[in-house]
Symmetry: C2
C-alpha cells in the first residue's frame, strides 16, 4: 500500500526561510512563529499519514453507493470525518465568530496540501464546504450567516456548489435551472445539475447546496443568473432541522478517479431556495471566491504529485534492477537499486523539483490572498488574480504529468491497481478539468487577466522579477549562473510572448488565443523559476550561516539547479509556438478535419 509522509520540514522552510511570514505586516502573520506553525503542521501531518492516507485506496476501491436515495461513503470515511471535525481542521482559517480559528489562509493551504495528498476524494467533502461557507460569508445576510456558518465551519453540515448542467459547463449563460419567486421571499428551484462533488453522503446532518439558477424574467445569458442557498433539509429559524427539501440525487457518476467522493446528478423539483447576495449577480458572487477555489485545485495537482513522488522514490531505492554503468553500487545484492540509473534520476528530479517549486508558488499565492483579504491590498489582489489561472492550469497539468512519471518508475507494477500508483494519476486527472478546464484557465489568463487594469498586474509581476534579479545578482558567480541567468532568460521569453500578443492580438485575437495555453505554461515555469531562485537564495543564506542541517540546504540548491537547467528552458519552446501565430492552428475548415 502506498504511504504518505507530510513534508512538514519543507513547508516550514518555505513559510519561514523563503516567505518569512512573521516579518510580514499582514494582520495575523505575527502569530505564525516557527514553533507554532510547526506544531500545527506536525499534527496535520499525523492525521494525514495515519488516518486519511490509509483510507485512500479504500475510497478508490469501494467508491460511493446510492441505495434508496441515500448515498453511502466508503468504509471508514465517517469515522475519519468525525476525527477531522473534532480536531477543528475544517474551521482553521474561518472567523472565530462562527467557530473557526481565524488563522491566515496560508496555513489553511499548507494543511490542505497534506490532507489532499493523503486523500483527495475525502478532503473534497470539507473543501467544498469551505467554498460554500466562504460564499455565504462574503454574500450572505447576517441572518444567513448566523444560521448556516457555525454548522458549516464545523462541518456538522457540509456544502456543495451547483453550476454545471448537462448542456452547459463553461458557458453558464445557457443555464436552464429556474427560480420562481414566492410570496414569502423564498424561491422554488427547479432543474438538473450535474457533476456535483460531495452532492450527497452520510457524513453530515445536512447539506447546504449553493445553486445557480435563473429567476423568472431575468435577463438572458450570464447576467440573469442568481445564486441560491438550497438546504437538503430545510432549516428552521432556530437552526433545528425541518422537512426534507425538494432535492434528490439522480445518480452517482462512474468516474475515472476520486471514487471516494460522491459526484452526483442533483435534481431540484420545486426545492425551496434562499437568494444569496443580489438577484442576477450570481456569477459575480461565485467569482469572488474563485481565486481561492482555483488555488485549491492547483494545490491538489501538487499534492498528488508529492504523494506519488514519495512512493516512486521508495520504489526506486528498494527495487533492485540492473547495474550502475559507472560501477556497481550494491555489490552484495543481485542488482543495484533503480535509483542509480540516470533516467530514473531524471524522472525523480523532475518530480522533486516540481513539487518543491509548486509548494513555494502556492504558499506565495496564499500570502497574496491573505494580503488582499486581511489588509485590503489591491495590488496583491490584482497580482493573485493574474496568477490564479497559472496556479490552477500549470500546476494541475504538471502535477498530473508527475504522477504519470511516478507511476512509470514502477514499470509494470505501476499499472496494477494494488500498488496504488494508478490511483494517483486517476485522481490527479480531475484537477485539470474541474473548477474551469485548463484551456479555460489559459483563456482567462490571456483574454482577461493580462490586460486587466491596464495591464498593471502583469507589469507588477515583471517588476517583481526584475527587482529580485537586481537585488540578488552579482554576489555569487555560481548562483548567478545557475539561478539568476536562467530566470532572466525565461522572464525575457515571457515578456516577448506578451509583446507578441499586444502586437498581433489586436488585429486578430486568435493570434493571442492560439498561444494562450503555451503562455500559461511558460508563465508557470517563470513563476517556479522565481520560486527556485528565492529558495536557492534562502538555502545559500542558511549555509553561509552554518545551518545545522547542511544536507537539507545543499539538496535544496541541487534541486533548484536541476529545475533551472532542465525545466525552465521550456519557455523557449512555448515562445516559438506562440510566435508561430494562429495561422497553422486555424487553417482548416471544421469540415476538413
Amino acid at each position: 500500500m502506498p504511504r504518505y509522509t507530510a513534508p512538514t520540514k519543507d513547508m516550514q522552510f518555505v513559510l519561514h526561510e523563503v516567505l518569512d511570514v512573521t516579518a510580514s505586516d499582514i494582520p495575523g502573520y505575527d502569530e505564525l512563529e516557527a514553533d507554532f506553525t510547526s506544531a500545527i503542521l506536525e499534527e496535520a501531518g499525523k492525521i494525514s499519514a495515519e488516518v486519511l492516507a490509509p483510507l485512500n485506496p479504500v475510497g478508490d476501491t469501494e467508491g460511493c453507493r446510492l441505495e434508496n436515495g441515500v448515498v453511502y461513503t466508503p468504509t471508514g470515511f465517517r469515522a475519519a470525518f468525525e476525527q477531522v471535525k473534532s480536531g477543528g481542521w475544517p474551521g482553521l482559517d474561518m472567523p472565530e465568530q462562527y467557530g473557526g480559528q481565524n488563522m491566515p489562509y496560508v496555513i489553511g493551504t499548507a494543511v490542505g496540501e497534506f490532507f489532499s495528498a493523503a486523500n483527495q476524494a475525502f478532503t473534497m467533502y470539507q473543501g467544498l464546504t469551505h467554498g460554500a461557507a466562504s460564499a455565504i460569508l462574503a454574500h450572505g445576510t447576517d441572518a444567513q450567516k448566523d444560521l448556516y456558518l457555525p454548522r458549516m465551519v464545523s462541518c456538522e453540515w457540509t456544502g456543495t456548489m451547483n453550476l454545471t448542467e448537462p448542456h452547459c459547463g463553461t458557458d453558464l449563460g445557457m443555464m436552464r435551472t429556474r427560480a420562481e419567486p414566492q410570496d414569502d421571499g423564498t424561491y422554488k428551484i427547479t432543474g438538473q445539475k450535474i457533476f456535483i462533488s460531495s452532492g450527497d453522503h452520510d457524513m453530515a446532518d445536512n447539506i447546504v447546496h449553493l445553486v445557480l439558477a435563473r429567476i423568472a424574467g431575468a435577463p438572458e445569458g450570464i447576467k440573469g443568473v442568481s445564486l441560491f442557498i438550497v438546504p437538503k433539509i430545510l432549516v428552521n429559524d432556530d437552526g433545528t432541522l425541518g422537512a426534507r427539501n425538494g432535492v434528490a440525487v439522480g445518480k452517482i457518476e462512474e468516474k475515472m478517479g476520486i471514487h471516494g467522493n460522491s459526484t452526483c446528478v442533483m435534481n431540484y423539483d420545486g426545492a425551496t431556495g434562499y437568494l444569496l447576495g443580489e438577484a442576477h449577480k450570481g456569477m459575480r458572487a461565485m467569482f469572488t471566491m474563485m481565486n481561492e477555489a482555483r488555488l485549491g485545485v492547483g494545490m491538489q495537482g501538487l499534492a498528488q504529485a508529492e504523494a506519488a513522488y514519495q512512493n516512486a522514490l521508495d520504489y526506486a531505492r528498494d527495487r533492485l534492477q540492473g547495474r550502475d554503468v559507472t560501477g556497481t553500487k550494491n555489490p552484495d545484492g543481485p542488482a543495484d537499486p533503480l535509483i542509480v540509473h540516470p533516467d530514473i534520476r531524471r524522472s525523480l528530479m523532475d518530480q522533486k523539483s516540481f513539487a518543491e517549486g509548486a509548494r513555494a508558488f502556492i504558499l506565495w499565492g496564499a500570502t497574496l490572498i491573505d494580503s488582499a483579504h486581511r489588509k485590503d491590498d489591491k495590488a496583491a489582489d490584482g497580482l493573485v488574480s493574474l496568477l490564479t489561472p497559472v496556479i490552477k492550469g500549470f500546476l494541475t497539468d504538471q502535477g498530473y504529468d508527475m504522477t504519470i512519471k511516478a507511476q512509470q518508475v514502477y514499470g509494470g507494477h505501476g499499472y496494477i491497481e494494488e500498488w496504488g500508483m494508478s490511483q494517483y494519476t486517476r485522481d490527479a486527472r480531475i484537477a485539470m478539468i474541474y473548477e474551469g478546464a485548463n484551456g479555460v484557465q489559459a483563456l482567462d489568463l490571456v483574454g482577461r487577466k493580462l490586460a486587466q487594469d491596464g495591464g498593471r498586474h502583469v507589469m507588477a509581476f515583471f517588476d517583481l522579477v526584475k527587482t529580485f534579479v537586481k537585488e540578488n545578482a552579482g554576489q555569487d558567480a555560481d548562483y548567478d549562473r545557475a539561478f539568476i541567468e536562467p530566470l532572466k532568460a525565461a522572464s525575457k521569453d515571457l515578456q516577448a510572448a506578451g509583446m507578441y500578443f499586444m502586437q498581433n492580438g489586436m488585429k486578430n485575437p486568435n493570434n493571442a488565443l492560439a498561444g494562450s495555453y503555451d503562455f500559461m505554461h511558460m508563465f508557470g515555469h517563470v513563476c517556479l523559476g522565481l520560486m527556485w531562485a528565492r529558495m536557492g537564495k534562502a538555502a545559500m543564506h542558511a549555509l553561509a550561516n552554518s545551518a545545522s542541517d547542511a544536507a537539507f540546504y545543499e539538496t535544496k540548491l541541487a534541486t533548484g539547479r536541476y529545475y533551472m537547467a532542465r525545466q525552465l528552458p521550456a519557455t523557449k519552446l512555448h515562445l516559438s509556438r506562440i510566435q508561430s501565430g494562429a495561422d497553422t492552428v486555424m487553417a482548416l475548415e471544421a469540415a476538413n478535419f
Copy 2:
C-alpha cells in the same frame, strides 16, 4: 458510446502516395496494388468499426474473471474472436505453408492499427499469438513448426510470452524459473511468471506459452536463460490434445486498463516444456522478434490516439459552448461549437498531426522490416533496429498524451466513464510500460543502437534526411519554408545531441544516459518531421496533378505545416536539456532525495 471509423483513405495515401509500395522491389510488394489494399483495408475497417469497437467498453466494464481455475472473457469476445478467425485475419502476414496469406508485414501493420484502435484489449489475444508464432517460426524445429504453427496462425490456439517474474522485469538475468532436463529430451518447468497478457481465457482450445527459464547448471545472468514451449494442454505428435500440463493461473491482475485482456500470474509446477532454439540462447531468440513486437506497441500508441481523436473531434463539432471571438459561427444556436475556439483547435491539431505523422512513420518502419526479412536487406535491418526504440518509446508517450488531450476536449464529461474517453487513456497507458518501459527504450537507443555497427545506422538515417532535403529543396519557396527548413533545423539539433554524447559520454556515460529520454523524443520528432515533409511533397504532387479530392491534400499540407511549426521545434528544448549534461541529474546522494 464512442465510435471508431478506420482511416482507410489516409492509410491508402501513405501506402501508395508516400511509400509508393508497388514500386518497391521487396518481394510481394508488387501485389499491393491500390485496389487490392483498399479491399483489405475496407474489410478490416468494417470489422473494426462494427464488431470490435462496440465490444471495447464491454471489455472495460466487465473485465475478465477467474472462476475455478478457468478464465472467462467479457461478453461477446468469443463470438467476435470466431469472426476474426473465420476472416483469416490472424494469419494475414503468416506463411501460406502454415495456413497464412503470406502478405507483407506492412499490410498486417495497417490492419493491426485498425483492430487495436477499435479494441486494444481484444486485439492483444491475437497479437500475442502472432508474436509467439513468429518465435516458433524463427527458432523452432520443423516438427515444432508443423505441430504448432497451423493452429496458431489460425488462432485455434493462442500464444503468450512469459518473461517477467515478481522480482525482475527489465533485468531478466535475475530470473529464477528453472528447467530440469528429463531423459526424454523435455524439461520440467517450475516457477512463477507475472504480467502474462492473454495468459488464459476461454476463446481457444489450447494456449501455447513461450517461457523463459534457466536450465539447471546454466551460466549466471542473462546468458543462462533458455526459451521453452509450454502448452497449456499437452499436444500429441498427431496434433490432438492430451493431458493438462502443470501450469495454472494464479490470479488475474486488477489493472488500470485493458480490462478485456486477461493479465495473469502463471504458476509453472513441473510443467512439461520443449526447448525452443538453442539452450542458453533464449534472450537472443526473444530479441529476433523484438523489432516487430515493439513496432506493434508503438502502433498501439498511435491507435488509441487516433480513436480518441475521432471522438474528440465529433464532440468539438457537436458541443455548443461559448462564441467565436472573431464572430458568431452558429447564430441560430445558443452557442458556437467548441471547434471554433483556438485552444480547442490547438488540441485537435496536435492530435491530428501526431496521428497522421505516426501512421506514416510506423508504415515506413514496417516496410523496413519487410525489406530486412523478405530480401535480407542488412541496411534496412540496421535502420529499423535503430528506429525501433524511437517508434516504441516516442509513439507511446505521445500517443498517450494525445488521448489525454482528447479526453480534455470533453471537459467534465471526459472524466465520466460512460463517455469512454477515460478508457482510451487508461488503455493507452500500458503501451508506455510493457515490451520494455520507455526509459529502457531510451537506454537501448542511446546505450546500444547509436553505436551499433560503428554508428553506421544513425549515419544512414542522417544521410537519408540529407538526401531528402537535397532532392526536394529549392523547388517551391512555401514548401521550403514550411517543411524543408524546419526539418533541416531539427535534424541539425539531433546531430548536435549525438555529437554531445560522443564528446561527453566517453569520459562519463551518465552524460549520455541522462539525456537518453530527451534524445529518444527528439529523434521521434525528427522522424515525424521527415514523414510530414514526405507527405507534404506527396500532397503537393497530387494537387499539381489536379487530384480529384483537393480538400484532402490541402488538409494534409495544412496539418503538416502545423506539425512543423508547432511540434518539431521541441528538438531545441530536448537539445538544451541533453547539453546540460548529467551533473544536475546525478547531483544528489540517494539518501538526500
